[in-house]
C-alpha cells in the first residue's frame, strides 16, 4: 500500500530541550496509528511538526508522496492534512455554522468572487448530519459555539476535520476529559473515518485501553526519541517501553 505520511530523521530542539530526535514514522491510509509516550515525550510537538505549526530543524516529512518539510501549515491543510487539538480550537465568537462553513471552504474552494455573490452554501449539511448522528449528539446550527459541552466540542472538532475530506487527521487526546459514553462515540467516529473512509489517523491518547483497542500500529516516544514501533502486542511487550512507562532505572 502507498504510504500516506512518512517522517524521516526529523529533529527539533527548543533551546536545550530535545523535542524530537531522529524520528522516523510511517502512516498508511485507513490506519489508526497510535502515538504514545510519557508526559513530555514530545507527542504534541510531533503533531505540530507534521501539521507545520512549528518548523523542523532537520529531516524530511513526506505526505502523499510530496516533500512537505518546508511547506506552510495552511498549505499542508489544503493538501488534506487535518488536525484537532487537546483543547478544541474554534472560532469562539462565531456560531457553529460559521465554524463548519470554514471547514466547508477548505473542501469546496470556491473563489472569493463566487462566494461574494452566491448565497450561503448548505450542501455540507447532509454530511454533517450523518457524522453527528454517528457521534450521537445534536445541536442547532445557529447556536453559539459556546452552547456545546466540552465533550461535544471535542467531537465536533473531529467532525469538522472530516468535513474537509482529509487524507490524514492528527488527533490530539480526543478522549481527555470525556466520560465513558462520549469516549466510545469518539472511537466510533475515528473507526468510521479510518475503516470506511480510508483516512489515515495519527492518534495521541493517554488511555491505553483505547490505544490498544483501535490502533493498528503504535509509535512510542520518550524524550523525543522513538523507542519502539509496531503492533499493539509488540509494543506492549517491548522492554524499553515498559521501562519508560514504569520509570525503572537502567541499572536495576
Amino acid at each position: 500500500m502507498e504510504k500516506l505520511l512518512a517522517l524521516s530523521k526529523v529533529n527539533k530542539r527548543f533551546g536545550g530541550v530535545v523535542a524530537a530526535k531522529d524520528v522516523d514514522m510511517e502512516v498508511y491510509p485507513g490506519e489508526i496509528h497510535g502515538l504514545i509516550g510519557p508526559n513530555g515525550a514530545g507527542k504534541t510537538t510531533m503533531l505540530n511538526l507534521i501539521s507545520g505549526i512549528t518548523p523542523v530543524d532537520s529531516g524530511t516529512i513526506t505526505f502523499l508522496g510530496r516533500n512537505i518539510t518546508k511547506m506552510k501549515a495552511h498549505n499542508r491543510a489544503r493538501m488534506g492534512l487535518g488536525r484537532t487539538f487537546q483543547t478544541p480550537r474554534f472560532l469562539d465568537r462565531s456560531d457553529i455554522e460559521e465554524n463548519i462553513l470554514l471547514a466547508n471552504d477548505l473542501n469546496e474552494r470556491i473563489s472569493f468572487f463566487k462566494s461574494f455573490v452566491s448565497p450561503k452554501s448548505k450542501n455540507f449539511i447532509p454530511h454533517l448530519d450523518e457524522l453527528t448522528r454517528v457521534a450521537d449528539f445534536s445541536f442547532y446550527l445557529e447556536d453559539d459555539i459556546s452552547s456545546l459541552t466540552y465533550g461535544q466540542r471535542k467531537m465536533l472538532e473531529i467532525i469538522r476535520s472530516m468535513i474537509t475530506n482529509p487524507k490524514l487527521i492528527l488527533v490530539d487526546e480526543p478522549a481527555a476529559g470525556l466520560n465513558n459514553v462520549e469516549r466510545d462515540r469518539v472511537m466510533t467516529l475515528l473507526r468510521l473515518a479510518a475503516h470506511e473512509r480510508g483516512i489515515g489517523i495519527v492518534l495521541i491518547e493517554h488511555s491505553m485501553d483505547m490505544i490498544m483497542d483501535c490502533c493498528q500500529n503504535i509509535t512510542v516516544l520518550n524524550f523525543g526519541e522513538v523507542i519502539a514501533c509496531g503492533s499493539p502486542q509488540e509494543v506492549s511487550n517491548n522492554e524499553a517501553v515498559i521501562e519508560a512507562y514504569l520509570g525503572r532505572r537502567k541499572d536495576a
Binding site: A77, L91, S94, E98, L102, D105, S138
Partner: protein
C-alpha cells in the same frame, strides 16, 4: 424566502426614506454635519474589516485616508480629472500602498503591529506636512472641484449628501456582504484563533494583508470623498488623535457590523454638536462613556441591540434554527 424578501424591502424602504428625508427636512448645517460623518463612516468601515472581522487593532486608517485625499486632490487639480476617475485613482493608490505597507507591517503580531501602525501615522503626518510639492505642505491644497458625474456638478450640501450617501451605502453593502464570504470566515478564523485557522487551510498572513488592503481601499475612498466634500485638504486632518477617534467611533456602535459602525460614527460626530450647552464637559462624558461602554457592552450598541432582540425572540420562540443530528435534521423548523 418570503421573509428574506420582506426584510430586504423594509431595509430598502428605510434607506430610501432616509435618502429623501435627510436633505429635505434638515437644515444646511445638519446636512453638513451628516456629510462629514458619512465621509468618516466610509473610513470606519475599514476599521470594521480590520478590527471587527479580523481582530487587528490598526490606527493606520487615517493615513490611508490621507493618501487617498492627496491622490484625489492631485488628480483633480493637476491633471483635471473628473470625480469618478479621482475616486478610482485614490482607491487604487491607497490599496497599492496598503499592499506594500501591510506586507511589511503584518509580519509583526499583535501589539507590535498595532504600535507600528501608530508609528506609520506619525511618519506619514510628517511627510504630508513637509512634501510641499505633492501635498501643498502645511498650506494644504484648496479649490478642489466638487463632486461631479458627467455634466452634473454637486452644488449644495444636499447634492454632496447624495454622493456621500451612495458611496457610503455601496461601501457598507460590500463590507456587510464580505462577512458572509469565505474571506469573511477566514478573517473570523484569524481573529479568533490563528493556529486553528492555519490548520483549517487559512493562509493567516495573506488573509491579514488582504484585509489591510480592503481597509486601505475603503480609507482611500473616504479620503477622496473628503477632499471633494470640503474642497480642501490639509495635513492637520491626518493626525493620530483623529485615528483614535475613528477607532472609538467604530467600537462604540459595534465594530463587527457596518450598521453598528454607522451608529457609532453618527453619534460621535453629532454628540458634540448636540451637547453644545455642556461644552466644558463633553469630552469628559465622552471618555467616561467609552470606558463604561467597554465594560457593559463591549460589542457596542449594535451588539447590545442584537443581544436584546435575540433574547426577545427566544422568549417568544421566533427563531428558526437548523437542527443537526436528530431524525428530522436538516429541515428548518420553528422551535
Amino acid at each position: 424566502m418570503k421573509r428574506r424578501i420582506i426584510k430586504i424591502l423594509v431595509v430598502v424602504a428605510i434607506l430610501a426614506l432616509a435618502a429623501v428625508l435627510v436633505p429635505t427636512i434638515s437644515s444646511h448645517y445638519v446636512i453638513t454635519v451628516v456629510n462629514g460623518a458619512l465621509v468618516f463612516y466610509v473610513g470606519c468601515l475599514g476599521i470594521c474589516v480590520m478590527l471587527g472581522y479580523g481582530g487587528m487593532v490598526s490606527f493606520a486608517t487615517i493615513t490611508f485616508m490621507g493618501l487617498g485625499a492627496y491622490m484625489s486632490a492631485n488628480l483633480s487639480l493637476k491633471a483635471g480629472m473628473p470625480f469618478l476617475v479621482c475616486v478610482l485613482g485614490s482607491m487604487i493608490f491607497a490599496g497599492l500602498c496598503a499592499l506594500i505597507i501591510g506586507a511589511i507591517l503584518l509580519r509583526l503580531s499583535g501589539t507590535f503591529f498595532t504600535f507600528s501602525t501608530v508609528a506609520l501615522v506619525l511618519i506619514a503626518h510628517d511627510l504630508f506636512t513637509n512634501l510641499r510639492s505633492l501635498t501643498g505642505g502645511p498650506d494644504g491644497m484648496g479649490g478642489i472641484p466638487p463632486f461631479n458625474i458627467g455634466s452634473f456638478v454637486a452644488d449644495t450640501a444636499a447634492d454632496n449628501f447624495y454622493f456621500l450617501f451612495v458611496a457610503g451605502l455601496l461601501a457598507a453593502l460590500f463590507v456587510h456582504r464580505l462577512k458572509y464570504t469565505n474571506l469573511g470566515r477566514r478573517l473570523a478564523a484569524v481573529r479568533d484563533n490563528e493556529i486553528a485557522a492555519a490548520t483549517m487551510g487559512v493562509d493567516v498572513y495573506r488573509t491579514k494583508v488582504v484585509a489591510f488592503i480592503i481597509a486601505g481601499v475603503l480609507s482611500g475612498l473616504s479620503g477622496s470623498l473628503m477632499v471633494h466634500n470640503y474642497h480642501f485638504v490639509g495635513s492637520s486632518s491626518f493626525v493620530f488623535d483623529q485615528s483614535t477617534t475613528m477607532v472609538i467611533m467604530a467600537m462604540l456602535g459595534g465594530v463587527s457590523h457596518p450598521g453598528g459602525v454607522f451608529l457609532g460614527t453618527m453619534i460621535i460626530t453629532m454628540l458634540p454638536e448636540w451637547l453644545k450647552p455642556l461644552q466644558e464637559y463633553i469630552r469628559l462624558f465622552y471618555g467616561l462613556g467609552v470606558m463604561l461602554l467597554m465594560v457593559f457592552m463591549p460589542t457596542g450598541l449594535w451588539g447590545l441591540g442584537e443581544q436584546l432582540s435575540a433574547r426577545f425572540k427566544e422568549r417568544f420562540h421566533l427563531t428558526r434554527k437548523t437542527l443537526i443530528g436528530s431524525d428530522d435534521a436538516s429541515s428548518e423548523e420553528m422551535i
